[in-house]
Amino acid sequence: MAEIKYTTADPKGVLTGVHYMDGNHAACEGALAAGCRFAAGYPITPSTEVVERFSVRIPLVGGVFIQMEDEIASSICLQGAVWAGLKAMTVSSGPGISLMQEHVGLAACLETPCVFVNVQRGGPSTGLPTLPGQADMQQCRWGSHGDYEVIALSPSTVQECFDFIIDAFNLAEIYRVPVFFQMDECVGHMTEKVIIPEADKIKVVERRYTSKPPEEYLPYKPDPDLVPEMVKAGDGYRFHVTGLTHDERGYPVINAQAQKEMVYRLVEKIEKNAPKIWKFEEEDIDGADVVVLSYGISARVALKAIEMAREKGVKVGRMRLIVVWPFPEPRVKEVANSVKAIVVPELNIRGQIAREVERIAEGVCKVVRVPHAGGTVHDPEQIFDAIMEAAR
């Protein structure tokens, strides 16, 4: 089995120091710190600053930026770069992310470790190019056809854009999956203090390259953690990979048995490893009557509402998802068992995360949605009212 090898960041990519920058710039710096040396993208508001900064920085660090002809091209170009040995990302927003979906499936199927950054805006269609939304939370999970699993993270602060995109790259390598970094226009465009540590303080995961010789190597034979070891082009393995359903050799096999083996493993390598992937932040859950569960910018806006409700004497706890997918189901179930209600504010009107909470909390506690169509963030009063109603 390929050991998961942690190293520290290559200092060439690390801009150690205290900075004031926006979330998009911080995400770019985080990606460079994580070892990303290739980005392919196509301009789209409100995400463009990420690749703009990358195109300024990468010539000084060593790597390639290419502005592709569209997002379909970007989302596969980066996978070519990964299979040639680099860490790579693409960056976009609503319409561009929609165009990329076929290649999210390709990445899931080929098990290409890579990162898709989505600075979410309001949709559908061209929607609200310059204003925030959180309405692509289910898209990142189900957007491509077929059965597969991804990992998705959602930062709330500019510092987290830096910190957690490093996690995104590391998780992509450990599990060989496409990882979504679900930002939003607010987090992407707000300017805050960012502390970039010294390179030797930044933990980076290396690719799970095999140590087997070519005669013994099978591209899709999984390790005990269900993730196969990787090789790259140019190393003499003369391997084959295909987006067709395939066996351990990577050869196409078009039947129900091969399909079952492949898709179950693609899903289970995330499901069974989920306890190692979950990441959330909690406060005052014990003894709370109401818990506000949120993520991204909405979790931040909710802080004000929580403070207001506490002033009224309501015992409010909070849970903030950092890794959104896989969903921390057992913990949400425990929380549901201990409270009267869970309140879920988010910038979409169909309860994209709330319905997940409802499914888990069904028959156990009340779930109160706080929908918002996007374009701006919630008024804290709105969340406050929901908390007060939930506490009744």
């Binding site: 060439k12 290739f38 392919a40 010539p59 000084l60 660090v61 060593g62 790597g63 390639v64 290419i66 592709m68 002809e69 569209d70 379909i72 091209a73 970007s74 596969i76 170009c77 980066l78 996978q79 070519g80 770069a81 990964v82 299979w83 040639a84 040995g85 680099l86 790579a88 076929e102 290649h103 390709l106 790259k232 082009a233 140019g234 190393d235 003499g236 393995y237 003369r238 391997f239 084959h240 990979v241 295909t242 987006g243 067709l244 050869y251 196409p252």
Partner: protein, 289 residues
Amino acid sequence: MSVEEKVKENPVEEFLRTDRLPHVWCQGCGIGTTVNCFARAVRKCGIPLEKLAIVSGICCTGRVAGYLKLDSFHVTHGRPIPFATGLKLANPELTVVVYSGDGDIAAIGGNHLINAARRNVDITVIMLNNFTYAMTGGQVTPTAPYESINTTAPYGAYEKPFNLPHLVASCGAVYVARWTAYHVVQLTKAMVEAMNKKGFSFIEVISPCPTIFLRRNRLGDAIAELKFYKEHSVIKHGADTSEVGWDETRPDEIIVGKFVDVERPDFIEAMNTHLSKRLGDKYVWWGKK
């Protein structure tokens, strides 16, 4: 050596995934012939096998990647060129070949084709033109000749077909050739040249699809088609590409040859030259100097 041994010894076997044979292609299909040429070109080109990668899209021709014992990638329909671009840019030491069908490269992948030619990404595109979407049963393509019968052009095609050598040449491809499945010697040589050419090289290979295109258009069998190629081909190296279009199912003249072979800095060279000029010592050179 007995006759049996002689027959068994396939000169290109070392380049094939023999554990995957028999292949999926129909009897008489031209794809296999071109793969044979390609395998011979691989032997002759002087590029170490481990540095040669092949990328295919989804189509009958797209199955080529799966039968060649190279680092081989079978990706999505229409997108082998951007995948190949990523491979090449990330590791400039690789020689990267795209091998795919006319629908894959010129219809759904058309935007990638023109942009890769414009950027002069150092890859070789071998596009097998059988004038139809063979894998999905023979629908009309942007290469389908006027009046040709296809399942989605049941009364005959009436759109102007692409002249692909002209298209890629005008976008800046540095090597452009067209051969047919009849011209195995010339095709093999062109493949060797294209793989060794720095920059974007493009070979259109006209190839018989007896099962679908020939049958539906009552053009005879594969042998008849190869005979047609033989009798009607005119070799015109350096031909004006604006005059090589294939508009009728049975053109009087099939113009084949090496149309373009020029020099122009490829993407990586242009990037390195430009950025080092602008950034001086601060620029981190990409790839071998």
